[in-house]
Symmetry: C2
Subunit: 334 residues, 2 copies
DNA sequence: TGCTAGACTGAAAGTGCTTTCAGTCGTTCT
DNA sequence: AGAACGACTGAAAGCACTTTCAGTCTAGCA
């Protein structure tokens, strides 16, 4: 005589509540009174209850899980976006599944398998260059997707205007009376999968300088490898020029801070001898009193998550192509 | 437009039979007239019908997924551990599910439901104080768990020796000839769920000072709220003392860097006028040339993930209680 | 031609769980 | 004290199939 597997009905009976409460205890435990929950849990333990995955899958139209595809997160900016996503998702009590990507193949493999697994309510792709056919695959399979920092007509997007950001920095520095202004960015790594906004920022920056009648000499444009040593060495070389710039726009805060450090070592006063403007406004920027172009990183993540959550609630909502505002945050370095 | 997934009802409609027949075609084809069967099969092909529940259930069963319970990650140290986890898991081709915890109830609710839903191959709990009964529940239900920065006899643990870390800092500073040495830590927030290693670091620090015949006067021990303003204000107060310390051990790098900043503003030379030792060795520490006690944060995450992965491959492996080494990394600040 | 066994089929009743929608209480605000 | 509120809870309506059961139809037989 096999003792039949207990169902939530059995648990409900022995713990004296209704099946809905059992279900809630399991799925959104914070919505049920601690005392009730404990009673239910003990009944569950006593009976050795295990919900049948098959029944569960059937009743659940949505999995309440959203995925994030991100490059392996080393840069602070990824972390802050992720933080925004995590915050919003936690409020919506949604699971967050993270896939870190470290090659194009990896990325494509994920994208290919996601529709088939269909165990994701939505997908956020951060700073990854996705190919047309992959975008199509996602769209055709009806996977709600939000691209952060990249663009596709058929998918939700959250971008910033890097061109404008570069221009903003240029105008600000020009406004402060600078005429010898340099640019400091990293070298785009060979990986094809990552998005590199540096070039756009440089273009916007250069254009604004030229519109103001200033030139951006070749030697004022530095592109260094994204490493401690690489950055510092390049910064050093730039500042050691015969007529070094009096102001520098760095394509990211990390780079701006590298320069600050080297400048300090060279006994340059900031901003008197050297003005510095960064880009991103990572946490650290406030900490270092860095004047920078803010793109609200947390907000971009939050927004992405919210788009997905609200799409889930109301699938009819239309595609969103959002351009996040950039603002110059004036602090002590320029 | 919306590429909705076809159900058995759609197949029934387009092939002009009832759903029961579809079901039979799929489950016991020999009981269905060949002609009907073919009609049904062609409809199935045409619609690309895949029984939903089955796929879902399968997807839920072989999870290949490990979960991380973490406080909402604001501090860089969480991020670095998470990074370690993500790296190892990505190599093992495992999904990473993140649950951010923001209250004890939240935490307990998660812990309670995880074993039952059994949709996780393993669980990593970062810097969270878990209660005896919760530990038991995890253990009893056979959920492979790794605790980072906390301790339980029946679960895998990865810890560091905070006492020793404090001692290490003290001995180093004493060795550099300092006698007026201060401590700078944050105030433990009221949340019961988070682990606070500050106190242990202070105790170990104080003990080592006393063993060397030095005292740690009350006014040299500062505990500030973990905020920009709070930290800086407290640092300022400490340095403005009539006889300020000549060296400070900060309970974390972030706090050490706060002090550096305030010290610079006060025109103190580092390390000549004020030596500073931090704790953690976050990325930023190298960047700031901060002398600090390294606990390898990435490594702790990596190790946790690897324990879980290898347990999955070979469930017989024994419990691991790992004590990660601490090393003093000498840089420019002390 | 009238009957009936046997092969098929569809309506409807599960299946075990989730979720919506009210309704019940205990609180807080006024 | 009364009203308005909000946290909990249970009843009941799904969900996407499977199965049972009672037919319908056809072929085979007298």
């Amino acid at each position: 005589m096999a003792p039949k597997k207990p169902t939530i009905y059995d648990v409900a009976k022995t713990s004296g509540v209704s099946i809905s409460t059992i279900s809630r205890v399991l799925n959104s435990p914070d919505k049920v009174n601690t005392k009730t929950r404990e009673r239910v849990m003990s009944a569950i333990d006593r009976l050795g209850f295990v919900p049948r995955a098959e029944a569960r899958a059937r009743a659940m139209r949505n999995t309440n899980r959203i995925g994030v595809l991100t490059p392996f997160f080393t840069a602070p900016s990824f972390v802050q976006r992720l933080r925004g996503v995590a915050g919003a998702l936690s409020r919506a009590n949604c699971e967050l599944v993270i896939y870190t990507v470290d090659s194009v193949e990896h990325l494509q493999a994920y994208i290919a398998s996601i529709p088939i697994m269909q165990n994701l309510d939505g997908l956020i792709i951060i700073s990854l260059a996705i190919e047309e056919k992959d975008a199509h695959r996602l769209h055709d399979n009806g996977i709600e997707t939000v691209l952060i920092e990249s663009w596709h007509a058929q998918l939700n997007c959250i971008c910033i205007d890097d061109l404008r950001g570069g221009g903003l920095a240029a105008k600000y520095l020009i406004g402060r009376g600078h005429t010898r202004i340099g640019f400091f960015g990293d070298i785009e790594p060979p990986e094809r999968y990552a998005i590199r906004p540096v070039k756009s920022r440089l273009i916007g920056f250069k254009r604004a300088l030229e519109e103001a009648g200033l030139s951006l000499p070749r030697r004022y444009v530095v592109r260094a490898p994204y490493t401690q040593a690489g950055l510092q060495q390049a910064a050093h070389a730039l500042l050691a020029l015969p007529h070094p710039p009096t102001a520098i726009f760095a394509a990211s805060d990390i780079q701006a801070i590298s320069i600050m450090k080297v400048a300090r070592q060279a006994n340059l006063r900031i901003p008197e001898d050297l003005a510095i403007v960064g880009f991103d406004d990572i946490d650290l920027a406030e900490f270092m009193d860095l004047t920078t172009i803010r793109q609200d990183l947390d907000e971009s993540g939050r927004l992405a998550a919210e788009i997905l959550v609200s799409k889930k609630a109301d699938p009819g909502r239309s595609l969103q192509h959002i351009n996040l505002p950039l603002t110059l945050i004036q602090r002590q370095t320029a």
